[in-house]
Amino acid sequence: MILDDGREAPARVYLDHNATSPVRPEAAAALAEWIDSPAGNPSSLHAEGRAAMESMEHAREQVAELAGVPGGSLVFTSGGSEAIEAAIRGVCDRAPSGLRKIVVGAVEHSAVFGAARAFTSRRFTVEEVPCDRDGRVDPDRFLARLDRGTVLAVLQWANNETGVLQPVKEVGEGCRRAGVPFLVDAVQIAGKKPLGAAESFADFLALSSHKIGGPPGAGALTVRKGIMLAPLVHGGAQEKRRRGGTPPLPAVIGFGAAANACLDNLKTESGRLLKLRARIETQLRELLPEIRFHGQAANRLPNTVNFAVPGIEGEMLAIGLDMAGFAVSTGSACASGAVEPSHVLQAMRLTEEEARGAIRVSLGWNSTLEDVNRFLSVLPVQVNRIREARR
């Protein structure tokens, strides 16, 4: 793009990886390879079908390795929301009549709330475990909610808005002692921090392709061996009868390639992002001393910063930044494009007005020091303009 004064406009700076991470080159290459392939149906007996099946199973191993589970336990879905819905519905649909309580964290993604609340019409109850002001759910308080009537426990590993990490290991171990199935929403943490042997405490893990630099349209649910799950999509016998329908092969193959790329340098990449995040936080504190960081005292993802400048509406700041070439987020996007105050920040005891001030910056695989520096130079300009407009 060329500016009015003839200079070339600087490239845009994308700082919204928690919404969608751009497709990694490795995933793009895998997609291109699929397009040029004979593209059979993985269920077919012929050579084209077998080749498709092999690519799909290769992708399954790649994603399973990122999730830290055996390949055979991983079911491909259309995305993170479907993975979460499949676990919640799959467990609740099969639940014996005495088990009617679903215990969830207060700052879960709407995919969890939506799927769980849909069961309230069938006399299930959804109990939310509150978090502290930094967005942390206390494991003991969570476990104290489990009882003989609890059918399922759900906790996110990392929050999409604040990056705050939850004590999934302690909670998962407690759930296992109590005999309660435990679903971990790993959509945001996958590819950003090593997951280790999650199977030792989680019965289900939900993952999403487009959050890790794969194409949208694929997700995965890992199901611990021995757990029976009613399928969400009945259809045919695909995915060992756990998810009917022909899998979205290009998305699945891209998902695998992105997972593999994440795993390749997970530790160094995590350290690199942490440095960039630290730079954003220390510099912003200097430039705008009144700034407030949300979830600051908690352990967080290395890529996520959530802040507010008192008196500045997040929506206007995000719009100003967008017009200046920077993509950030105010919180959860809404279908109509309008912004509702975040339920996550309100659960962290922010007032509605404080929550409306929130800006989320989330870094990713293509974020550079230059991106961060340019962001730091433009943010105070935008803040000042909003202040002046009010005078």
Binding site: G320, G337, R390
Partner: protein, 362 residues
């Protein structure tokens, strides 16, 4: 270098063509749609035709077509405060409100103009049919009727301050509706054949204000009362003053009503007074919150053609400003149904002189 222009986009044909014309002219644009009511919160079309997600999508597609950014702004709280609540207050007080004027003054050219400035845009453009032009002598910004008198919206724009008028663009002011539709076709805008939005866009079709009042303020806000004649004889009962307006003839539920009109509404006693056409005539009225446009204050009585509602053609009158924000309008001939809550707007030919809000008539 000229600054960025913020275009208020409803998703309709007028604002879409306004945006397209500015884009074609090389202006740097940003599009805004205002979400004033939450249509998704309740049953379908709870608030009439206003602010449907499809409209926002249409607006966004037009912006995308011309390569400028578009945002939907959540302005529900401000709309409630500046337009919806005063609208309901007026009905509860037996007045006939004019919410479109307040929506222009406080929303499009108030809150929205403020937000435009926050993102570096110094002017707001809309698809209104009216003309704004600088007066080389006084330096003030004059408001004139649109070239297409059948579409003219200057009446609804009288209450803008000089500071507001200075920062507004009406690209359609010198075009006819037919030309606008033609331009929409030429631009290939999918909205070219969309139906017109109506006044009171936030009131559902077939709905009356009673149900809106009851929904927003609770059922106790709608109280039954009596219909009386000028002598106080009870003719009938009614189930809420909110459905009546001075000058109304239809739906009175009184025998021989085709020659009878509402001539008065008393919110204190919930009484609606019925009378003949002659009872509706008055020769003068007092207006409040007076706004003058070509000048700050007149030096003496002002002669002009005054419209007492948006559908009124206008009648010759003399306006005397009392200097305290109020003024008296004396019409050369008595006028029918001068209604409290409506705006009286004075013209000299196509030039808007100013206006104010009707307090009472005599």
């Amino acid at each position: 270098m000229k600054g960025t222009v913020a275009v208020a986009m409803s998703g309709g044909v007028d604002s879409s063509v306004a945006a397209a014309i500015l884009a074609e002219g090389g202006d740097r644009l940003v599009g805004f749609s205002m979400k004033l009511v939450d249509q998704l919160a309740g049953e379908e079309e709870r608030y009439g035709k206003c602010c449907s997600p499809d409209d926002f999508r249409d607006a966004r597609l037009v912006a995308g077509r011309f390569g400028f950014p578009h945002y939907t702004l959540d302005m529900e709280d401000e709309f409630r405060r500046f337009v919806l609540d005063p609208f309901l207050d007026d009905y509860a007080a037996g007045k006939t409100p004019s919410p479109c004027i307040r929506c222009n003054t406080f929303m499009k050219f108030g809150s929205l103009l403020g937000r435009a400035r926050a993102v570096g845009a110094d002017r707001v453009a809309t698809g209104h049919y009216a003309i704004l032009e600088p007066d080389p002598v006084s330096g003030r910004t004059l408001l004139r009727k649109a070239v297409d008198e059948t579409k003219d919206q200057s009446y609804f724009l009288f209450d803008l301050s000089e500071e507001q008028r200075r920062h507004i663009l009406f690209p359609l002011g010198r075009m006819t509706k037919k030309e606008v539709r033609q331009r929409a076709e030429e631009f290939g805008l999918a909205v070219a054949s969309k139906t017109e939005s109506m006044d009171l866009c936030f009131v559902a079709e077939g709905d009356d204000y009673r149900s809106l009042l009851a929904r927003e303020r609770g059922p106790e806000a709608v109280k039954p009362g009596e219909m009386v004649d000028r002598e106080g004889n009870v003719l009938a009962s009614h189930d809420g003053i909110g459905r009546f307006t001075v000058g109304q003839r239809k739906g009175l539920g009184v025998q021989g009503a085709d020659k009878l009109y509402v001539i008065g509404i008393d919110p204190g006693t919930d009484r609606v007074t019925i009378g003949t056409g002659d009872d509706l005539l008055s020769g003068s009225c007092v207006i409040d919150r007076v706004r003058w446009i070509p000048f700050e204050k007149p030096s003496g009585p002002v002669q002009g053609t005054v419209r007492i509602r948006s559908t009124h053609e206008g009648a010759p009158a003399t306006i005397t400003d009392h200097g305290d924000g109020s003024a008296t309008i004396r019409f050369d001939e008595p006028q029918r149904a001068i209604t409290p809550g409506q705006a009286a707007v004075a013209y000299d030919g196509d030039l808007v002189l100013g206006g104010g809000w009707v307090r009472n008539s005599s």
